[in-house]
Symmetry: C2
Subunit: 254 residues, 2 copies
């Protein structure tokens, strides 16, 4: 047992020159849409511990960089993307035994990217792949360390930020149809949204999406070609689309 929950030698007041040393890593939960489902980029660990298991990419923070810079670097190393449309801090994870080797505090970041270009397997990673988040949430894909919890936290964060800040455009391309945008909401929330009402809500907030005047090519199944939009500036407050609240007054057939 390596746990020393109560170390009697630990003084109540620390001497600044004699602090406990920690390793600090910055890990990034990289989310993207693929095939109408939310996916997370995972790497298969090539080294112990948890060798052979899936994990979210990351690495040690360098002393001369900020946390944001470290996250940006990790994202670029892993995907080749150098400018994420969304990259925010998610939280810190520092349980004593989360890494069996040593004391590690991890700062987790959340990244949303439009499309994964090259998926690079780094030095510690034997393989990299996009895994549906549902597989992770259901526990069908086990992750190393406490990374499953981190992914759960990341998805929950996306769910509320989608409603609160409307970060949906981070998941689609530079131009997109409203159906594509709606697919992001539906994938993250797991709810069907009415196309007409969605359109009205999104367009009501001026400056959120901007029509380009051009039209998309209809899909192979036909249909009226949709107008193409591009992302406007982001919100100041409130969001155009709300998470559907079950109306108790709806008809109760069965």
């Amino acid at each position: 047992m390596t746990t020393k929950t109560n170390d009697p030698r630990m003084p109540a007041n620390y001497d600044p020159s004699e602090f406990p040393a920690f390793a600090v890593t910055v890990d990034v939960v990289i989310l993207t849409m693929s095939n109408k489902r939310l996916h997370v980029l995972l790497v298969r660990r090539g080294v112990a511990p948890f060798e052979g298991m899936w994990a979210i990419p990351g690495g040690f923070k360098r002393p001369a960089e900020t946390l944001d810079e470290a996250a940006k670097r990790e994202l670029a190393e892993e995907t080749g993307v150098d400018s994420a449309s969304l990259l925010t801090q998610l939280g810190a994870y520092g349980d004593p035994d989360r890494d069996p080797r040593m004391n590690v505090v991890t700062i987790a970041y959340l990244a949303a990217i439009r499309r994964v270009g090259v998926v690079v397997a780094g030095a510690d990673a034997a393989e990299a792949a996009l895994i549906p988040v549902s597989e992770v949430l259901k526990g069908k894909t086990e992750l190393a360390f406490d990374h499953a919890q981190i992914v759960r936290d990341a998805v929950e964060r996306v769910r509320v930020d989608l409603e609160l800040r409307g970060i949906a455009t981070a998941f689609v391309g530079p131009t997109f149809t409203l159906a594509e945008l709606r697919a992001v909401y539906e994938a993250v929330w797991g709810e069907q949204l009415d196309g007409a009402n969605f359109r009205r809500s999104v367009l009501a907030e001026s400056g959120w999406v901007i029509p380009t005047g051009r039209r998309a090519r209809p899909g192979s199944t036909g249909g009226k070609p949709a107008e193409l939009y591009r992302a406007g500036r982001m919100w100041k407050k409130g969001a155009p689309v709300r998470y559907p609240q079950p109306n108790d007054t709806r008809k109760e057939h069965e």
Copy 2:
């Protein structure tokens, strides 16, 4: 010396046994209501650097404790409160030069307490006091390190969590009147709220506040004695009180 801000020998791929060492501190932004205004508990630093300046309390994380435990410990050491009504992680701060002595990554926590009991000046702190947050936000009270930014982030967090999760009961006593609860919202948001509408909104959410049947003593200015409530369980989703949206700015588009 342990500070090596730029080590050219740092390889791109780290060896796990040779990671850069960081000090990890856990600092707590302790907020409370006093005299109808939001206050933050600050300590005056007794040691260099920033000796004599105000700072938020905190200390080094111990290897055997979790981050949450560390925050709880710091809060107890500083205030004597052992069970905060609200204690959540706020974010991580790790800019390279935020501490001139060495590489320090700080995990900031946000605590809301009902009343400050004993304010203890610790080993590093010569003095402790409650300062109105407005003084910090306006820059009238300068803080050590990047603590001013941390306080700003904490207040912003409270503003949205008040709406999203209804954490207002964390700031009032075990029993309270609706006017007291309303004062929390008004202090944090800086907006006047209609008493009747506030009451309706709060009571609409069942289980959020529970009437005790007793009545408070009217204040010295008279008035009908208000009913006393106690906090129920917290929310699952949505909040009973929404941030007032100015209706006139809503019809700009078109």
